[in-house]
């Protein structure tokens, strides 16, 4: 696996400092790429453009890394992989609200990049509290916790649609390169909404500062 990745890197000229490769079932793999980023707020904001190679907190090292999920190892030498390693998402700077899915307005689909993304808003997109400012320390803790949650899952990540606005944080999941069935997308959408509700609960706990700061600043 490592040798195959090294070969692809040699072919493409991309030389990211590789952290590790985790093999997963069904021919998939997760590649962790080291980054020099240390600010979780910047990381979660940059995820709006990183798309399918998002910044997350590595579940073992606790460092900010980029996670590349590879669906099929046999396609590793394709242009698609190269694009994803570079974090390209075409013209789209931010996952677009290509279309709202369902009736609640919480879900949206972004088909502008590869793979397409399903996104769920943690808070209502069009209603925000007038008093909505979050101080930088709390924002940092919130971003750090969410990126840690992202790092613990295979294909989900968080991004901030509007820089600095905690109420614009959304959760995203890739829905596959070659197309997913309607049933699969619905199942992912239901899970995504439930997870978004959990994220919102986490944020509200952190906003109310019920935990000592030292726990998060360690």
């Amino acid at each position: 696996m490592q040798a195959a990745l090294d070969q692809v890197l040699a072919q493409t000229g991309i030389a990211p400092a590789l952290l590790s490769v985790d093999q997963r079932p069904a021919g998939t793999a997760v590649v962790w790429l080291l980054t020099d980023l240390t600010d979780p707020v910047e990381a979660i904001a940059r995820n709006a453009a990183c798309g399918s190679t998002p910044f997350v907190v590595h579940p073992d090292t606790g460092k900010l890394v980029r996670r590349l999920t590879v669906d099929a190892v046999e396609r590793w030498n394709t242009d698609l992989l190269v694009s994803r390693m570079r974090g390209d998402r075409g013209e789209a700077a931010t996952p677009a609200l290509v279309g709202s899915i369902g009736r609640s307005g919480r879900l949206a689909m972004d088909t502008s990049g590869v793979p397409p993304l399903l996104t769920a808003a943690l808070f209502p997109r069009d209603l925000r509290p007038v008093q909505s400012a979050v101080d930088p320390d709390r924002m940092r803790r919130i971003a750090w916790v969410l990126l840690s949650v992202s790092g613990g899952t295979d294909d989900r990540f968080h991004f901030m649609r509007e820089p600095g606005d905690v109420f614009s944080i959304e959760r995203a999941v890739a829905v596959g390169h070659s197309g997913s069935s309607e049933k699969q997308i619905r199942m992912k959408a239901r899970a995504l909404i439930a997870e978004a509700d959990e994220d919102r609960h986490l944020i509200e706990l952190l906003q109310h500062d019920r935990y000592p700061a030292a726990v998060w600043d360690a």
């Binding site: 899915i101 369902g102 009736r103 609640s104 307005g105 919480r106 879900l107 808070f123 209502p124 997109r125 069009d126 209603l127 925000r128 509290p129 007038v130 008093q131 509007e162 600095g164 606005d165 109420f167 614009s168 619905r186 959408a189 239901r190 909404i193 439930a194 509700d197 919102r200």
Partner: protein
């Protein structure tokens, strides 16, 4: 940031309490269904909505009212276009078998 297009107060009668919050909105107009869903999402009230099911009676279990001081309240359910500047407050009240709060 959500553009501060309009500011208003949203309220919900829930478990015998009236919860309130001043909010800013990203547009001047909205339809009643969307506003109701956004308010329920904001207050985290109501059973989880299955996005893919057809609209059910359960979704209609809240009445959306527009309040504007001396002019009283107006039931907005079913409105295709609500101008948010026309009301200072929007309130969700549980719908009962007896009909709308106006009729009770």
């Amino acid at each position: 940031m959500v553009a501060n297009v309009c500011q208003c107060e949203i309220q919900i009668e829930h478990n015998g309490q009236l919860r309130k919050e001043k909010v800013k909105t990203s547009s001047n107009t909205v339809n009643a269904t969307t506003l109701r869903q956004q308010m329920l999402h904001f207050f985290k009230v109501g059973s989880p909505i299955d996005d893919f099911e057809v609209e059910s009676d359960e979704d209609e279990s809240w009445t959306l009212l527009g309040l504007n001081g001396d002019r009283g309240s107006v039931e907005l359910d079913g409105a295709n276009v609500i101008n948010l500047n026309d009301y200072s407050t929007f309130r969700l009240t549980p719908r009962t078998a007896g009909g709308s709060p106006e009729a009770r």
